[in-house]
């Protein structure tokens, strides 16, 4: 298990969210999620300008094995997508916490982040899933 960066917040469905300057929230999937999926071969991303409520399906990550829906960890408007994934979806396997980010939202209400899991709680949730 790769070490979880301390500045991330998590949904139980394995998306991470990182609050950056100006209310920008970058979203990706966890090391555990990409490990479960196996080789990622295709990513369907939202369009810049789309607005999603927290928990809404907004992207799909597909491995050879299966398609996995990605849910918005917070409510917000899409302000950037990781276009490099179109040609190199395997980046999600290689660097899920960094270069493998999916998209960024402008968050509607920063307080929503407080309701997500911290790194330790998420690690514990993954641990529980394994048993």
């Amino acid at each position: 298990m790769s070490e979880i960066p301390g500045d991330l917040k998590f949904q139980r469905s394995h998306e991470w969210a990182r609050l950056e300057e100006g209310g920008r929230v970058t979203v990706g999937i966890s090391f555990h999620a990409q490990d479960q999926l196996g080789d990622v071969v295709y990513v369907e991303l939202p369009t810049v300008g789309d607005h999603f409520e927290q928990g809404a399906g907004c992207a799909v990550v597909e491995s050879v094995k299966a398609a996995s829906d990605i849910y918005a960890p917070v409510s917000g408007t899409v302000i950037a997508i990781n276009e490099a994934l179109a040609d190199a979806p395997e980046t999600i396997n290689a660097d899920p916490w960094g270069e493998g980010w999916l998209f960024a939202l402008k968050i509607d209400d920063a307080a929503q982040l407080d309701g997500l899991l911290g790194p330790d709680d998420y690690a514990q949730a993954v641990e529980e899933d394994a048993h």
Partner: protein, 364 residues
């Protein structure tokens, strides 16, 4: 509790991701399914397929029995060791299973069939065999290891006794021969496989399987999981039982017409139903699809054609091609422009001939 092959602990020690496959705890990959796929296409990989069912048939009337049991004509098997792919049908012409049968003597044939169908296969075979006085012996104590890829031959040759190497070297495609391993253990070596590459499948007593696997690994042969096996076989245009056909589908609707032996006067089970279906017109057909757009074809997706809706059977990302391919069953008739419903969006797909990949190279 799922069943385990004798190599289970070996897979786990190698870091395999294990999944349930038809009631068996099997490796899906050992790190990267895509890397394992390429490994087999470009070099050689080994698969544990010991979960498959090995059934030996003994008796003077075994050939007669197989003429009745199998849709393909066992009379094509004239030379000892030769193998034949066939479906086993019910009276309605539906596929009970697909299998390989080996001709080992007039009173001795061997069937290798699927893992998840073991119980119903055994029940059916025993039922039909009773009329022919054929003894049906399942061989769960045998392990099965497949070595597949352009360099499979060299890998296998290194694992057989010196005195048997010439025979293995001369072994034709779809032929099997008895041989001895380097420790003198009995091997049944068949030049068969499920990847579209040259390759061999070795049946051996399971107490020798871990040693053989380890010797192959020491010689540099990398393990490959069932994930790679699935993408390799689909690229090679090979059906998967349970996904591409089952008891509700006739071989004529599963692109397996080439495996039916309509020899004069041979009364195989399902023949009348197949002939009736042919006379009335086969209502559905199986085609290969290629997605030129981005996206992945998956089992169960709706296929839209001018002749009506069909569905994706096996669908996946094809690592050799870098695009998604599938088998689909669609209504008979002119399909026109074909689209696939991927999460509510109709994405254009193209009907293509398959195999999609032959001898490691894209066919188109």
């Amino acid at each position: 509790m799922s069943q385990q092959t004798v190599l289970n602990a070996t897979h786990r020690a190698a870091g395999a991701r294990m999944v349930d496959f038809g009631g068996w705890d099997m490796p899906i990959h050992y790190g990267s399914q895509v890397d394992e796929h390429h490994q087999v296409r470009r070099d050689v990989g080994m698969f544990d397929v010991s979960h498959m069912t090995v059934i030996d048939l003994h008796g003077a009337r075994t050939r007669d029995f197989l003429r009745r049991l199998l849709a393909n004509s066992v009379d094509k098997l004239k030379v000892q060791g030769k193998a034949l792919y066939s479906c086993m049908l019910n009276e309605e012409g539906g596929v009970i299973d697909d299998l390989i049968v080996y001709f080992l003597g007039e009173d001795f044939f061997r069937i290798v069939s699927n893992a998840s169908t073991r119980d119903k296969d055994m029940a059916w075979i025993e039922k039909v065999a009773a009329d022919f006085g054929v003894r049906v012996v399942e061989r769960p104590e045998l392990a099965l290891i497949a070595m597949q890829g352009p360099n499979a031959r060299a890998a296998v040759l290194a694992q057989v006794a010196e005195s048997d190497r010439a025979a293995i070297e001369a072994l034709g495609k779809f032929v099997a021969v008895d041989a001895k391993g380097t420790q003198g253990e009995a091997l049944f070596v068949a030049r068969t496989g499920y990847t579209g590459e040259d390759g061999f499948e070795i049946v051996l007593p399971q107490e020798h399987a871990v040693a053989l696997w380890n010797h192959l690994a020491e010689a540099g042969v990398k393990p490959a999981g069932l994930g790679a096996r699935d993408t390799l076989r689909l690229e090679a245009g090979m059906n998967l039982y349970g996904q591409d056909m089952d008891e509700t589908v006739s071989p004529l609707e599963a692109a397996l017409g080439w495996t039916i032996g309509f020899d004069e006067g041979r009364d195989f089970i399902g023949r009348a139903a197949l002939e009736a279906q042919k006379a009335a017109g086969v209502p559905r057909r199986m085609v290969g699809l290629l997605l030129e757009d981005k996206g992945i074809l998956r089992h169960g997706q709706r296929v839209v054609t001018a002749a009506g809706d069909g569905e994706i059977l096996s669908g996946t990302f094809a690592p050799t091609l870098g695009v998604s391919i599938a088998f689909a069953r669609i209504p008979a008739g002119e399909p026109g422009e074909v689209g696939v419903d991927i999460r509510g969006r109709i994405v254009p797909a193209r009907i293509v001939k398959y195999p999609f990949v032959r001898d490691g190279k894209p066919v188109e």
